[in-house]
Amino acid sequence: MKSPGKLAVLAAAALAGVGILSGCSSSSGGGDDGKVNLVVAPVLPGATADALKALHDRVQQFEKKYPNINVKAIEYQWTGTTFAAELAGGTLPDVFNVPFTDSKTLANNGQLADITKYFKQTATAGKWNKNVLDVATGKDGKVYGIPWGPYAMALSYNRDIFTKAGLDPDKPPTTLDEIEQDAKIISQKVPGVAGYMQMTKDNTGGWELATLTQSLGGKLEKVGSDGKVTVTADNPQTKQALAWLKKLRWDDNAMGSNFLFDWSGINQAFASGQVAMYMSGSDVIGSLMQANGFDQKKYGVTTFPLSSSPNAGILSGGNVDVVNVKDSPEQIAAAVKWIDFYRTQPTVDKTAAVNNAKTLAKGDQAVNAPTLPVFDKATWEQNQEWIKPYDNIPVENLKPFNDNIFNQKISPEPPSHTQDLYGALDAVVQAVLTNQNADVDAMLKGVDTKVQALVDADSK
């Protein structure tokens, strides 16, 4: 029999072990000083020191305006792959942004906080364009986020590489044929550079194929008058888009040698001069400067060409700032104040717009990255006037986009199981780029069957 003393020591050790294990719980968000704690995530991981300085200044301005809110800003990139686990594990920030593609799905899944009450208290609540706010509205009619920075898909290009290849960077291509011709010239004259490339991995391949399809007047999903969604990936325009990619890849050899790019991978390749032209959101220069330190003087952007089809439209997207569903009402209220301050006010309030532009310019962050109107065109134009003195991306570099974007019809993303559809189409795009004899017809039919089954399962 052991002595009682030894037993007590052992018991204490065992209890200490339990204590260590149970110490992994998260805080409630309320500070001891009565302040509300808020973790916000407005910059990408790997943001430059300038970007972090600009963010720090904005946080200080916010805390001065709302002294009862403590803001901790972190570097964070929302991804569908980590979101659910972070939410369940309690490590998700209080405010983060999700793409238009996913906001409705998350809201309907019950994975986002309902911010309707606090959203209605913001000064701009009644000003929102219903079509824009719709991406952040659940099927229950409640508001689950605040949209910002809507963009149209566009063609980004490296002006320096254009010059090296003997092309005029002020006259970027305006048709798919011209993109192909220029890409061919670049890959011939500037060895080691892909003339044109698209994303292919982690659902981005499908996203960009959807852009091509819609720019040619096709649709990957059709919604019937009864609301029933039919997946139509096996359509002539998608096949035309894939044939265009096939020509670039196999006839022209103008797409380089890496065919497995995701969003950040292709940004990196573009910023390091390995890709001359690529398709992305019109606002991508903001990320290129923030995360890749890309010199904006080399940057050019133009509208992605649309065919003459009356149904042709440019795929649009954007971001929605949303709030952690596990937050307390005080945190949700504070979160909406932050989103309003950080995202919305700089678009409608002159002082906020100028302050924001000054801070961004001081931190060498994109001030005039091309976006689409979040409210209406007049408000957007007014905003552009306010920030004009602080523009730090050469305006002439953005001219091909800004001059033409309002002539393009905006086309929303496929409405149902969007990410599943994009994921299934990744393989089709990869097949075309890596196998000259890929059976596109069979693969597209396979996508239709697979995604239609998911769509149909929803109505059961």
């Binding site: 072990g17 792959t81 369940a88 019950g110 040698s257 065919f259 990744d426 780029l433 697979k450």
Partner: protein
């Protein structure tokens, strides 16, 4: 002389049994101390191993996104996995990876260990050289090899091939060459550990056996075949099943090199589990992910049992 009746014997045995399992006796014999020593381990295993396993079994019969209340859906998740065409592709790819890893990854460490054991000088240097890839963090290795596999003519491997007149290869950018490329890196990264195990086992082989074989006129090959391999068979059986289990769970290489592409040619079972759980429908398919995990676990358990049954009579034990 008294003779114990069978009834009295039974009673005596029962009393002895009761005494053995008496809680007071158990405490007196230090059972409490044993339990206290065991407690931290039980808690750690319970919290971090057994609870997740039990939860995974439950989750495989549910539809859940970890936030809203889960709904029991019976065998639906298992049926959905079987009906997914990518599942069969993943099974085929995992089998292909395991086969290639077995063809290249299994004999190479053995040959290397036998050769190294024959080396008389700088043995330590060769051991360090062989083990170095294991020291490099796996993610770093993959990212390093990703640069080596650059499919442009300027890529590291393609430059080397260019020196001997071989045209640039697509490596991980082509559905045909992607999987062998992944196996090549995995073999390089994992061989060191197995070599060290074999080297250690080789030291236990009695030199007398080699001497005896030499006296009998055995060649080097004869010594390896008739002495080394039979002496190592216990270790060889264990490393073989460990390798099969490890290759059936390959994830890192396809995840980091190719994301399962091109055209699902490197989508393995574990990568598919990951895709179900995290990339499809924003975490809406946890049920399918856990269902497939359970199927893989059951398959590996059955395979291990069959394997040990089959090899029991050839093994030392």
């Amino acid at each position: 002389m008294t003779v114990d009746s069978p009834a009295r014997v039974r009673v005596a045995k029962a009393v002895r049994t009761r005494r053995r399992h008496n809680p007071v006796t158990w405490v007196q014999r230090g059972g409490l101390t044993t339990l206290l020593f065991l407690l931290p381990l039980l808690i750690i295993f319970g919290v971090f191993s057994w609870t997740p396993i039990v939860e995974a079994v439950i989750m495989s019969f549910q539809k859940t996104n970890l936030v809203t209340a889960p709904v029991f859906v019976g065998w639906d998740n298992f049926v959905a996995v079987f009906e997914d065409p990518v599942f069969w592709i993943a099974v085929r790819n995992t089998g292909f990876f395991a086969l290639l890893a077995l063809l290249f990854g299994y004999p190479i460490p053995l040959v290397a260990a036998v050769l190294m054991s024959e080396v008389k000088r700088m043995k330590g240097f060769y051991s360090v050289l062989a083990y170095l890839p294991v020291v490099i963090p796996p993610v770093v290795s993959v990212l390093l090899w990703k640069i080596f596999y650059d499919a442009s003519p300027n890529g590291v491997f393609n430059t080397i091939l260019g020196w001997v007149g071989i045209p640039p290869q697509p490596w991980i950018q082509d559905a045909v060459t992607a999987m062998p490329s992944l196996v090549l890196e995995a073999t390089w990264a994992g061989a060191g550990g197995t070599i060290i195990i074999y080297l250690a086992a080789l030291t236990s082989v009695s030199p007398d056996l080699y001497d005896a074989a030499e006296v009998d006129g055995a060649s080097i090959w004869g010594k390896i075949w008739h002495v080394t391999l039979p002496q190592l068979r216990g270790i060889l059986f264990i490393t073989l099943i460990l390798q099969i289990i490890a290759t059936a769970q390959v994830f890192l290489q396809p995840f980091l090199f190719t994301g399962g592409g091109p055209v699902n040619s490197t989508t393995t079972i574990l990568l598919l589990i990951y895709q179900y759980a995290f990339t499809q429908s924003l975490g809406g398919a946890y049920g399918q992910a856990t269902a497939l995990s359970l199927m893989l676990a059951a398959f590996l358990a059955i395979l291990s049992i069959v394997y040990f049954r089959l090899t029991a009579r050839w093994s030392d034990n």
